[in-house]
Symmetry: C2
Subunit: 453 residues, 2 copies
Amino acid sequence: MSRTEAIDRYLQEHLEAYLQETIRLCAQPSVSATGEGVLECAQLVEQILQQHGFETWKIEGYGNPVVVGRAAGKSERTLLFYNHYDVQPPEPLELWDSPPFAPQIREGKLFARGAKDDKGEFMARLAAVEAVRAAHGGELPCGVLFVVEGNEEVGSPGIARFVQDHLDLLKCDGAIWEEGGIDFEERPGTSLGRRGILALELEVETLSRDAHSGNAHILPSAAWRMVRVLAALKDENERILIPGFYDHVRPVSEQDLELLRNLPDLEAYLRQSFGVRGFVNNLSGFELRKAVFNPTCNIQGITTGYQGPGTKTVIPARAKAKLDFRLVPDQDPTDILQKLRAHLDAEGFTDVQITHADYMFPARSDPQHPLVELAARTAQEVYQKPYQRIPLTGGSSPVYAFAGPLNIPVIDAGVGYGITNRTHAPNENIRIQDFHNAARHIARILDGFAGIF
Amino acid sequence: MSRTEAIDRYLQEHLEAYLQETIRLCAQPSVSATGEGVLECAQLVEQILQQHGFETWKIEGYGNPVVVGRAAGKSERTLLFYNHYDVQPPEPLELWDSPPFAPQIREGKLFARGAKDDKGEFMARLAAVEAVRAAHGGELPCGVLFVVEGNEEVGSPGIARFVQDHLDLLKCDGAIWEEGGIDFEERPGTSLGRRGILALELEVETLSRDAHSGNAHILPSAAWRMVRVLAALKDENERILIPGFYDHVRPVSEQDLELLRNLPDLEAYLRQSFGVRGFVNNLSGFELRKAVFNPTCNIQGITTGYQGPGTKTVIPARAKAKLDFRLVPDQDPTDILQKLRAHLDAEGFTDVQITHADYMFPARSDPQHPLVELAARTAQEVYQKPYQRIPLTGGSSPVYAFAGPLNIPVIDAGVGYGITNRTHAPNENIRIQDFHNAARHIARILDGFAGIF
């Protein structure tokens, strides 16, 4: 029996046990937004890691505790798994078919808050570790590190500092990010880059209180001022008007274009899914795919004046706008924040406050790194489909906090299935078959990891 | 004893009786926003008019009943009083020192919801009518008409049609509007014009649901589209960009400028009252006063996207903005509405909906009309200060619904006092002395009215 066969047999035989362990973990609430059950869950995660042969640390000082597990292997090479034990709030409860923290298996799926995001992912990885350890006669072929944090669903505010403070403990040669799996057409794949983000609020006050709109010829309106501010940030062709904004944008490489060409076409899917008549700048085809390399300035929301039913003849005294800028390699969100302030000042908007600024840096991994090749080869084995290499995804994540300081490639592999996971929503679930396949894929990566260097 | 002395003596002797009648009327709730007590109040007003010798009509079909009272006089000339019996909701109740519908006199003031707006005004006029009738030996020197409506606090939606439908019944030679009195420095005066208004909502939808902002490079944002729409309505110098918007703006006359020059300077007051650093377009001095002749485009409020605490990385699918345009003579709100639609279409905003459009026309009265001269002469007698003639006020009212179809001048005289009435707010009140003076002033106008033609 080959080692791969041994791994698969182990996983087949122990699948039920790992599902039961996942159920136990999902039954423990851990809502970081409210604090419910978070400390108990950190404790439970540490216990589970210990039960699976990991040396553990529960590290305080970065928000909710960060649980670290380390297991040595035959090789010095170490693979890091980033996961999180916190979950999104389960509300609205009335839309769940079974209670969010009473996990239930039905129709080949496990339903629970956190089943997918991120407790199922974590447990599939532990299953993979055990399978590989068994197939290697009780000793792992490479070192394994788990970083399981408790603030991911509230934006991981402490994780970058945590990594900086623990570079020795976290020394490793590659990482698998919190999630992965297959898309809505069952294709496996990985993101090889995430955009950064600079989120902030703009606030302006023109009057000490709302005034009657019969005075609109003389009293300055915060609503109009905010419109002017926003119009000064981006032109009608989506070009961001902050001087120097594009200075550090890395040109799109021929390799990136090639990766984009190999990706499936999402245009029809997006058009249908969001009822879109026309895309931004009337983009279509390959240009639409390439647009992910454009940084963006998004308005999350605007609040000003009267928003109730009917009419209220007021001049708004205050206006707020929440914005997020998605940044591409090698833009620096702290640099962009300074340039934004300078731009507002130069345009005469010195009275406009920037508050609540928060950010993540962009990150890229080398598409040709041997870890990517290994993940692709093993994904083909498990899923019988090519592993999609997405050069850059539109969202943001704390990948940068690990990739940069630890100088490692970061890839995705996991239990996800693009159609039905209902992540962050009622009836969150995973398919048992995806849990099984994720463990098989990750075990193969662990099995081959030491050999790629 | 002169007729004026007889009038003043009558009012002095009967002041207490009219205050008691005002208290009785204010004790009857009549909240048009909720319907509370409205029909009972219409009944009560009709009864009061009958008790004071008026023939009455309670006219249905225009919202809450319109109560009309008519009393003939020696002359065919007729003066119309426009008033309303409905009041604003009394909430928040906890901020009242005495219950809103349990009128209370203390410290020389009458406190009640409606004491000022508009029941005290109505009763001061009835007192004036009685005083004049008594001084003229039991017969009025001119005809008197009361129009007391019940929808003023919800925008008088039926009043223009009501007037159009009852031109014969309402035939008259001049009108005193619902309110009047003295300003914060105890100066009497009148508005001689009101701006019109076109209020509406703009709505736009770019997606069938909010999307993750990681897609902002491809999915169109309703928030950004609304910013573009608004920016296309007005330039940074307050010039409204709708083609033809200014076509029917009547030039400011030399007479208007002269009236403006005679008005007190409100700049310091406004600056302090609203904490204003700079006025619109950095106006100051005489230019600031003159700006009331500029029509405006005001944003009442904007609603789009996420407005709660913290950050939410969404692209808003929908955006709404409530606007009001204040229009000057001779702009026509129905014409402006058509031009706005045409402008949006021409600018490519065919997807932007205009909803909830509602309007009033602007109105002007001739500053030299003998009724204005009469009111000024008698105001000087009563208040010992010149009667301010304000050529145009910034707000809007249904004055136009009477002034145009009946072809009459419309002036203000009443019980108001700019500092303490707390109209629409808790502890609404009038000063007894202002009630008394309003009756004296209005009685003098009634006394002289037939003689000015």
